[in-house]
Symmetry: C2
Subunit: 150 residues, 2 copies
DNA sequence: TAAACAATTGCAACAAAATTGCGTTTATAT
DNA sequence: ATATAAACGCAATTTTGTTGCAATTGTTTA
């Protein structure tokens, strides 16, 4: 319940021509609070009955369309959401992302400050590249600590 | 209906201790026929009533477990399947993959012969890397030809 | 080649996830 | 304070994925 953050979130909504509603602020709060990206099921679980499931779908959808958050599909096909940092605009994401997907807890981490090499990718003829992203899989910090967990 | 290919597929099943059934051979045939990976909905659509939906799920699952095919989740969260080439074993995929996901038709292509750089990824402390893969998005050959298609 | 056995399949029922329509409520501008 | 469009919640529906079980089929072996 940080006041600064609340104001920041409200400003974010206004900036994008969205009404300041409790449900939306709640979602923004959840996304701010988690270090990793938040999975849709997780968000759903956290908000419980406070926000209708349909409303949640729609909130996430409009946030994504406005470029406030971006959606990351993890290795199991589950949608995860995180704030857009860096160069995300409403219409395109121009940077090279790196996402880390933990094989144990399935959490998705956006690694912003990893040094990523720029290189020319040679695709088959006719293929045009719009974006390149890196997906690392392995064990996150928490799960590395757990011994012998399958 | 290539005879050579049929024998090859039958051998593949036998090698993995699986019975030669019509449904399985059909799935292998479909996967062989498509240049890109085949999405689960596509396969389902192609086979129609010939193979029960549940059976298809199970076939794909066992094929994946045996390391015959691998599953690729595309940007929409849809499962796609393709044969394992290269260094796939039953238990792990050791190579660095490159997948191309078309933003227009959503098809997933496994790009095997692209030169991928090897580099040391610096992850946050505690994170251990098991695999790194590359996901390129853009327009595939077919969709590049189409003018102004949204 | 026939019997025996386990693997595989299909069906039905179920559960979970996602979508649509619509009436009501609410935030914001006037 | 009121008008208005946006946002929400509920109900119904569709789509997707799972489970259990009985019937069938492929393969082994006698």
């Amino acid at each position: 319940m940080n006041t600064d953050q609340l104001n920041q979130h409200e400003a974010l909504l206004v900036k994008n021509g969205l009404k300041k509603t409790g449900a939306r602020l709640r979602v923004l709060d959840i996304l701010s609070g988690s270090e990793a990206a938040a999975s849709q099921p997780d968000i759903e679980h956290v908000v419980g009955k406070d926000i209708d499931r349909v409303t949640l779908y729609r909130i996430l959808k409009t946030f994504e369309e406005k470029g406030i958050i971006h959606r990351i599909i993890d290795n199991q096909g589950t949608a995860n959401y995180a704030f857009c940092h860096n160069n995300c605009s409403e219409h395109a994401h121009h940077d090279e992302h790196l996402h880390f997907n933990c094989v144990n807890c399935q959490k998705v981490y956006c690694i912003d400050n990893a040094h990523l090499p720029h290189f020319k990718l040679n695709l088959p003829p006719g293929f045009s590249l719009q974006q390149l992203s890196f997906v690392a899989t392995g064990r996150c910090e928490n799960c590395s600590k757990l011994t012998e967990q399958k």
